[in-house]
């Protein structure tokens, strides 16, 4: 089938052998058109790739009397692998990121679906602005606002007390894992919503009509027609949310207390305690988790590229 296609459309792929001079000229032009990337390449090289390499190198060094010593060792990784708390925290961080990402998507998808499908365009823009609005306020302010909501004298506890449900403040939310979870979902919801919204906004809703016309119930149409076409957007949104959550340490620091500690807090503590190699090793582990995930998702997407030209 594939050969048949290419045979029928000969000019679809790269053409057969062309004169060498032409190829050379084209290649030179190809090289030139990447010149525009230089500023970005410098910024990324100096501020991203170089530090990353440095971290990888540090993770194999050691400290002696609070000083970094360039002696190769795998001790740092061994320490993390054999220390119960570290392994548990890493596992907990991954689990937290997965759950928070899933929850964020599960809230953002219906929200965007409803917004795009049932809300008139003008109101859509207003409502969406409200979603984006938190981006314009300070991150810290938003996290501390949650302390006010979840805290001992926060909105939830005052409400519970006034309803007569409790006498003493409920500490379940603040300074524990559930609080971190709630705040993370809140913080990253706009990222997911933005991605899903732009994708849903481009969706051709007449396809659902066609699905119903062909005998699918409205719900079945959503599952068999809309969702498969949202796969790319879901994965993109998921990555946008998952990766920053893996590295989060401010929110757990402020609302998590001692029980809500995530990997980010450990790394911050390592660095604060001049344990640079250990912190670097932990960072590399997080980066590896992300790398593996990205490769997996890319593979899953490439085979069925939805927006193939």
């Amino acid at each position: 089938m594939a050969t048949l296609e290419t045979a029928r459309v000969p000019d679809a792929g790269p053409g057969p052998a062309k004169p060498d001079a032409k190829v050379a000229r084209r290649e030179r032009r190809n090289w030139r058109q990447y010149v525009g990337f230089t500023p970005a390449a410098i910024v990324f090289g100096v501020f991203f790739i170089a530090p990353l390499c440095l971290i990888v190198v540090y993770s194999f060094w050691q400290t002696k009397d609070y000083n970094l010593v360039p002696d190769f060792t795998t001790k740092n990784y061994a320490t993390i692998a054999t220390t119960d708390t570290y392994i548990k925290t890493l596992g907990k961080t991954i689990l937290m990121a997965l759950l928070a990402t899933a929850t964020t998507l599960a809230i953002a998808f219906p929200f965007c679906y409803w917004l795009v499908r049932y809300v008139p365009p003008r109101l859509q823009r207003v409502l969406f602005l409200l979603v984006i609005l938190p981006f314009w306020t300070s991150y810290l302010l938003r996290v501390y606002a949650w302390v006010a909501i979840l805290g001992d004298n926060g909105a939830i506890n005052v409400l519970l007390k006034n309803l007569g449900l409790t006498d003493s403040p409920v500490r379940l939310f603040l300074y524990d894992t559930p609080g971190v979870f709630i705040v993370l979902v809140y913080l990253y919801f706009p990222f997911a919503a933005l991605t899903l919204y732009s994708s849903l906004d481009r969706f051709d809703w007449s396809l659902l009509r066609a699905g119903v016309d062909l005998g699918a119930s409205p719900m079945r149409s959503l599952v068999t027609i809309l969702l498969p076409q949202m796969k790319l957007a879901m994965v993109t949104a998921g990555i946008f949310v998952f990766i920053p959550i893996l590295g989060e340490y401010v929110a757990p620091e402020i609302v998590g207390g001692t029980n809500g500690v995530l990997m980010g807090n450990l790394i911050a503590n390592f660095f604060a305690g001049y344990l640079l190699p250990l912190g670097s090793a932990a960072s590399v582990l997080i980066a590896l988790v992300i790398l593996v995930l990205l490769v997996l998702f890319r593979k899953g997407l490439d085979t069925k590229d939805i927006y193939g030209s």
């Binding site: 396809l207 009509r209 066609a210 119903v212 016309d213 062909l214 005998g215 068999t224 939805i306 030209s309």
Partner: protein, 383 residues
Amino acid sequence: MTNLLVEDSPASSQPTVSGTAKNAIELRGIRKSYGDEVALHELDLDILDGEFFCLLGPSGCGKTTTLNIIGGFVGATAGAVSVAGVNVTKLPPNRRPINTVFQSYALFPHLSVIENVAFGMRMAKVPKPERLKRAQEALDLVGLGTFSDRAVTKLSGGQAQRVAVARALVNKPKVLLLDEPLGALDLKLRKRLQTELSIIQRQVGTTFVFVTHDQEEAMGLADRIAILNGGRIEQIGTPEEIYRRPCSRYVAEFIGESNILGGRKQGEVFHLENGAHVPITANAPEDTTSLVIRPESLRITANGFLDAEIVSRAYLGATTRIVMRLSGSEQLVVSSLSDHALEDHDRTGLEIGQMVSLAWSIKAAHPLVEQLEKKEDPNGKSE
């Protein structure tokens, strides 16, 4: 046949049809309003089993609303829809034995051509081998047998349209709805697909309900046409009936070109507004208010019924279009001469400014009874 202007007694307007032939679709007293805006007024319509039926009219005439009500995508404000004798008024689209070819085709971009065609059967839980076999047959039917594994995003407009037809027909619907399916294609391709659609329809024998605003397309495809105007059916009939015997000025002007001469009947003479009088068939109604004469029926002769002055002349190949102004009036009339007829005239000459005499076969002048008062407030439009 009958000039069915849908009037106030919907129940009695089509008394005979449902008994004799099997109806694929029966619409009874269908009304649709959006707030104060009335889209359809008490519509009654019978579509026969196996016929190619066209709903024709300009945009906003209610043809798409009618199609959507048949398909179940829009609920009627009042009235009933039956498909193959079963009342489906309350059924959602997925439970009606109807499939649709959408204007934009609405092919699923995440599925291949054959997966698109097999989608309906997948929903109906037809086993996979059978549905692939039937989908392949349907693709063969529309001449795309070798395209099954293609991505639908890589199809041309004409190919996508044919996949849409295959995807709908493969489910063996009682009725196939087509919502301006050729509208997005260029003229040449449109002509070819019209022929193909008509061949496919005869092959499968499914009732086709085709919505279009293109009168030529409707004339070329349909067994019968319903002409809609302002949410009412103006006339239903075969293309010939509608062309030769339009029931109203609206239909006469919408279908092809018409010369409409106003006047009043007196015996076998029709007195025109400009003082001339022309013959009229004896069986024309006494209250005839105008005559409809098609351009190709209007002959230029030595001594005809009417005098006119040639205003313009355009050679169009197969025909030549001659526009004339009637003597003693500002009205323009058009004659369409065949190339053959033109050759005869060119010996005597048909120059602009020349006075000529017009004649026609008496039968070719179709009488119209226009109720002027009724025209003033035909449907109580709020504007």
